[in-house]
């Protein structure tokens, strides 16, 4: 939104621009303040927005008012840079930062309230000066700057290459900062695209912007640094583990999902346990007993408490590569009551190459009489479209034989993906179709556990639910 044409004309006549100090005289009195540009949303386009000397922004009706530009007192708007000097500590781990965008990389123009992307990626670090005490972020690159909802698979390719560059540098680990909207998708994409990973990669973001004293990204960065210095050569999503500022969790890149729109602990590992808990109580019972590696001490010092042992260890002999071939023609369909299977025909016509079918419960779709999805799915498979099935329950897995519905579905030639998250299935299907052309090879790859996307043993604690003891103290 901007000011109305009449207001713009009024301002132009007086040679007044946003940032100028003006005197406003209207029927409510005479007031002085700095003229601000109109915010993007809300308010009336004929109201002038002023910042008064007491710091408040207010709106005055411009119609019928006289304006006067006060001399020599304009302020520069949108100039909110912050200095950052790279850490020069030598006894802390050297890490790389690959900054993309998102809330963690924003700054507020305090004059206007507008939110902007940081112009310098290093500015992120200026928000967390204490990071210098635990890590030396000595390499920074920013391959692109986008809010994550605007990213596509080409950005994943660029990002994977950037991360692999850093994995091949003398850094001990890599931190990727990212918007939280598709952060989990990106973590899955990196998990598949980075082959022969030698060092940790922590993907992190923020649910509260850096302008706030309650900025959660500061601790997320600290925990990410600690994870990046650990011996876990995996891609992990490192974010708050609870609503409190007490510990972080390193989630499995392929089994992680954003489960809340706004909470700090929005990210959760589904159908499995996270890799590690970072920080929190010192006498934690979750420190994994089997840590024979040279980084075990480092893990301990950094308070990275592993919750599982099946991760790939740091291995400097490995030479990571970015294997980024990706087929973007993949669609995602969710079975819904009364939803029309005709859309699958449409996708086949549109030459889509893969479909993720998010079925009910154990992987079901309607199979009875004229509402049956089976013929159209059969047609898709016969036309060479790869159809994979995941569950919209998220927790638990699809099963090929329990009910008739999934048996019928299995007979069409779809690939049932056990407990793989639908979003991970989407990313993996794009990646597999980028590599394989024959149905057999595609099936084999889809069902191969490439980056911990399957968990064949589900434990009681893998499903959160209501825990009576946690609710009241």
């Amino acid at each position: 939104m901007s000011y109305s044409k009449a207001v713009e004309a009024h301002l132009k006549k007086q040679k007044i621009e946003p940032g100028d100090r003006i005197r406003y005289s209207g029927n409510k009195g005479t007031f002085e303040g700095i003229l601000l540009p109109k915010p993007e949303l809300g308010g009336s386009e004929s109201c002038l927005m002023l910042k008064l000397d007491n710091g408040y922004n207010v709106g005055f009706e411009c119609n019928g008012a006289t304006l006067e530009k006060l001399p020599g007192s304009s302020v520069a708007l949108g100039n909110v840079g912050a200095e950052w000097k790279p850490s020069v500590s030598t006894n802390v781990p050297k890490l790389s930062l690959v900054a993309t965008g998102g809330t963690i990389s924003t700054k507020v123009d305090y004059k206007t309230g507008g939110v902007y992307m940081l112009s310098e990626p290093a500015e992120i670090l200026a928000k967390v000066p204490e990071l210098a005490e635990i890590a030396n972020i000595h390499r920074i690159q920013s391959p692109f700057r986008k809010a994550s909802e605007d990213m596509d698979s080409n950005d994943w390719k660029v990002l994977a290459n950037a991360v692999v560059d850093e994995l091949n540098s003398d850094s001990e680990g890599v931190i990727v900062t990212h918007g939280t909207d598709i952060l989990a998708y990106t973590a899955a994409a990196l998990s598949f695209m980075i082959r022969d990973q030698n060092k940790p990669v922590a993907v992190t973001g923020a649910q509260r912007s850096p302008d706030r004293g309650s900025f959660d990204g500061a601790l997320n960065l600290i925990w990410s640094s600690q994870f990046a210095a650990s011996d876990c050569a995996e891609v992990a999503v490192v974010m708050h583990g609870s609503s409190s500022d007490d510990f972080g969790l390193a989630h499995v890149g392929t089994k992680c999902r954003k489960m809340h729109t706004s909470r700090r602990d929005a990210f959760q590992t589904i159908n499995a346990q996270p890799w590690a808990k970072i920080g929190g109580k010192k006498n934690d019972q979750n420190v994994h007993p089997k840590q024979p590696d040279h980084h075990a001490n480092q893990n301990k010092k950094n308070a990275v408490h592993f919750l599982r042992d099946d991760y790939n260890r740091r291995d400097n002999e490995k030479k990571p590569i970015a294997d980024t071939a990706f087929e973007p023609k993949v669609a995602h369909i969710k079975a819904m009551p009364t939803s029309d299977w005709g859309m699958i025909d449409y996708l086949v016509e549109k030459k889509i190459r893969g479909i993720v079918l998010e079925g009910y419960a154990l992987g079901h779709v309607p199979t009875m009489s004229k509402h049956s999805w089976i013929p159209t799915i059969q047609n898709a498979v016969d036309s060479g479209v790869t159809v994979v099935v995941a569950t919209q329950c998220l927790n638990g897995g699809v099963h090929p034989t329990v009910y008739a519905s999934s048996r019928k579905l299995a007979q069409t030639g779809v690939i049932q993906l056990h407990d793989m998250l639908p979003e991970t299935a989407f990313v993996k299907l794009g990646w597999v179709l980028g590599h394989e052309k024959t149905p057999d090879k595609i099936r084999e790859m889809m069902l191969t556990n490439v980056a911990h996307e399957f968990n064949e043993r589900h434990q009681q604690d893998d499903f959160p639910g209501f825990k009576e003891d946690d609710q009241y103290e």
């Binding site: 409510k28 009195g29 915010p39 710091g55 207010v58 912050a82 939110v115 004293g213 007490d246």
Partner: protein, 663 residues
């Protein structure tokens, strides 16, 4: 000797009559009143809180100081953040949701609260803004989980009448209430989240208030206006007054959180007194040889610099922070509450010399508040230590002797008018605290401070926030306020109009005045709705009046209710049950004299909704008409006899009339 000296000064202080005008006294107030809305300002939690609501969980937060809109960190925010505090929040499921936890974006601005603020603005002849923008005001003391308080300027340029003329009200805001403190430790604070986000109206006057009494009067007027409008929440802590005070040569100091109206006058004038004495102390320090500026004191505190020595008794003009000196040995042998931690090695006693300060540290600058208290407040708030000991105190307070004090002076190479301060704490904090003492001591200008009211004096809380603390709340859209909307807001009656109305309803002027000042007027209005004039006053037959007359209602609320409350009766009786008792009276079923007893019965039997049944069971129904005539015959028409035996059941007026008719 020190004690005598202090005592003497105190007497002088009490005698001192400050000529406020001559001092250049300037004061303004900000009234913060919780609004009686249904919901909070930015979420749909109930705005009325219950202290006994259970804690449903806890939340832990570390808050950071961030650069404000000018790219600089606000001094108040930096000060709080430097304390590395951890904040714990008690979750109260009934009154707080994810918005208070800073885990969900705010909902829109509460329209009811906005309309109340706009109505108050109209009552104060202020100009409502055409567009209202919600701002974030940074607060790093942990009282808000988001580290900011949402606030919006609603109206400008109002005024209120006082006995000394109109006082300008430049701004009227609505903002979020902060969280309430449960407990405070040196490195952590526990808050409850139920209070956070309750709508507050903030009404600020300009700095034209002329005396303590004027401050109190203006605060009372504004408070009364809010209550009379029916917009004010009731109860302890629902209204708070911040006072701004400065004198010529002094500085603007903000005193927060005064809750008692009767303390306001003293608080304002004591602050003027404090600034006046601090200026005198600064002048005396300069006279004795100190030539520091604030920055010098701070700079030298970091680097250490020249000292005044025995050889150079007049000093070098600049005072530097000397090396702290261990004085634990004096406490080890003493019988003092400080001896044990020192003996156990848990604390040390560290001292620094305070050049030229002897006699000044003990000088009283407000009642029971010495210059030493000021230094101590700074040390406490920066480190969490319990307090300091200085040379102008009574050594026996700490189990020491005057001889010990002399020895300490000697060990610190004090000469002439040199003083000293001691801190007992762990070494790191002790040194940090002594730096704070030193820096404050030689800051010769009066620091810009936010102070906390404690009774009639105030204590240092944090530096006064700068302009760097406000920026727009981007999650909430601006609200357009049209002239038509403001015009359409119905104005509540003013106190004066209300008093006049009550008098017209039949109350005596003093009763009307008492009623508007009490918390009962709303109930009074409800109970007397529809009853007009005085014609139904205690009519002998009493059967026509649908509603109780105003006098009886006022008597019930202002006399009977307090009496019963003092007698231990729970008089929080729902309005409709109260009305039922009044109806029994106005319709002639009970006498006026029986009203307190019937009300007591109703209070004690909350499940019995038939008041008449209760009265009947207790034999409290009125005897009237033919029954009364019968009673007269039985008692030989003896007025005293009947009244003595049937005081609660017989209306004296009716009885008298009946007997007169017979004779």
């Amino acid at each position: 000797m020190e004690k005598e000296k202090t005592g003497l000064e105190k007497t002088n202080l009490q005698k001192e009559r400050l000529d406020l005008q001559k001092l250049g006294f300037k004061s303004g107030i900000e009234i913060h009143q919780r609004l009686a809305t249904r919901e909070k300002l930015f979420c749909r939690c109930p705005a009325a809180i219950q202290d006994e609501a259970p804690v449903s969980g806890t939340l832990l937060r570390k808050l950071r100081a961030v650069a404000g809109e000018l790219g600089v960190v606000d001094p108040a925010a930096a000060f709080e953040a430097a304390r590395h505090k951890t904040f714990t929040y008690q979750l109260i499921a009934e009154n707080a949701c994810l918005v208070e936890q800073d885990e969900e974006p705010p909902a829109g601005l509460n329209k009811q609260a906005l309309n109340m603020a706009l109505t108050v603005s109209k009552m104060l002849n202020a100009q409502a803004l055409d567009e209202i923008h919600v701002m974030r005001k940074m607060v790093a003391d942990g009282s808000a989980t988001s580290a900011f308080q949402r606030t919006a300027l609603v109206a400008l340029n109002g005024r209120i009448q006082t006995s000394l003329g109109d006082v300008a009200i430049p701004t009227i805001c609505i903002e979020e209430e902060s969280s309430g403190i449960v407990s405070r430790e040196s490195d952590s604070v526990i808050y409850r989240l139920d209070r956070l986000g309750i709508p507050l109206i903030e009404i600020a006057t300009d700095a034209s208030l002329q005396s303590g009494a004027h401050v109190a009067e203006t605060a009372e007027k504004i408070g009364r206006l809010l209550r009379s409008a029916g917009f004010a929440q009731r109860g302890l802590g629902t209204i708070r007054q911040d006072i701004n005070v400065s004198i010529a040569g002094g500085t603007r100091v903000e005193i927060k959180g005064a809750q008692q109206l009767e303390d306001l006058a003293a608080l304002a004038e004591n602050e003027a007194l404090r600034q006046h004495h601090l200026l005198q102390i600064a002048a005396e320090l300069k006279r004795r040889g100190v030539n520091n500026t604030q920055t010098d004191a701070q700079k030298n505190a970091q680097t250490g610099a020249e000292h005044r020595t025995q050889e150079n008794p007049h000093g070098v003009g600049k005072v530097a922070f000397g090396k702290p000196h261990g004085v634990s040995h004096h406490f080890k042998k003493a019988k003092s509450f400080l001896s044990q931690p020192i003996a156990e090695g848990k604390a040390v006693a560290m001292a620094i010399k305070l050049l030229f300060c002897k006699g000044l540290l003990g000088r009283e600058i407000m009642p029971n508040h010495r210059f030493g208290t000021e230094l101590s407040d700074y040390a406490k708030s920066k480190t969490g230590i319990k307090g300091i000991i200085h040379c102008d105190e009574d050594p026996t307070k700490y189990g020491l002797t005057p001889e010990d004090f002399k020895l300490i002076s000697k060990e610190l190479d004090c000469i002439e008018d040199d003083g000293w301060a001691i801190v007992v704490a762990d070494e790191l904090n002790a040194v940090k605290a002594l730096h704070a003492v030193f820096d404050r001591c030689y800051t010769l200008e009066i620091p810009k401070e936010t102070r906390k009211a404690e009774g009639q004096v105030s204590h240092f809380m944090r530096p006064l926030p700068g302009a760097a603390r406000m920026y727009p709340e981007t999650d909430v859209l601006p609200v357009v306020v049209t002239g038509a909307h403001v015009d359409g807001l119905e104005l509540p009656k003013t106190t004066e109009e209300r008093i006049a109305n009550y008098i017209a309803k039949g109350l005596a002027p003093d009763m009307a005045d008492r009623l508007v000042k009490s918390s009962e007027w709303e109930l009074f209005d409800q109970l007397t709705k529809g009853s007009g004039g005085t014609n139904s006053t205690n009519a002998a037959d009493g059967t026509n009046a649908k509603n109780a007359d105003a006098k009886t209602v006022a008597w019930l609320l202002l006399e009977v209710k307090p009496t019963l409350r003092r007698a231990g009766v729970d008089v929080n009786i729902p309005q409709e049950r109260m009305a039922a008792v009044l109806r029994l009276f106005s319709q002639g079923y009970i006498t006026r004299a029986a009203v307190p007893d019937v009300l007591t019965l109703v209070a004690k039997e909350p499940n019995e909704h038939d008041a008449q049944k209760l009265a009947k069971a207790a034999n409290l129904l009125r005897i009237r008409g033919t029954d009364l005539e019968k009673l007269c015959r039985e008692h030989q028409n003896s007025f005293p006899d009947i009244i003595k035996r049937y005081r609660l059941q017989v209306d004296a007026g009716e009885l008298k009339g009946l007997l007169e008719k017979k004779t």
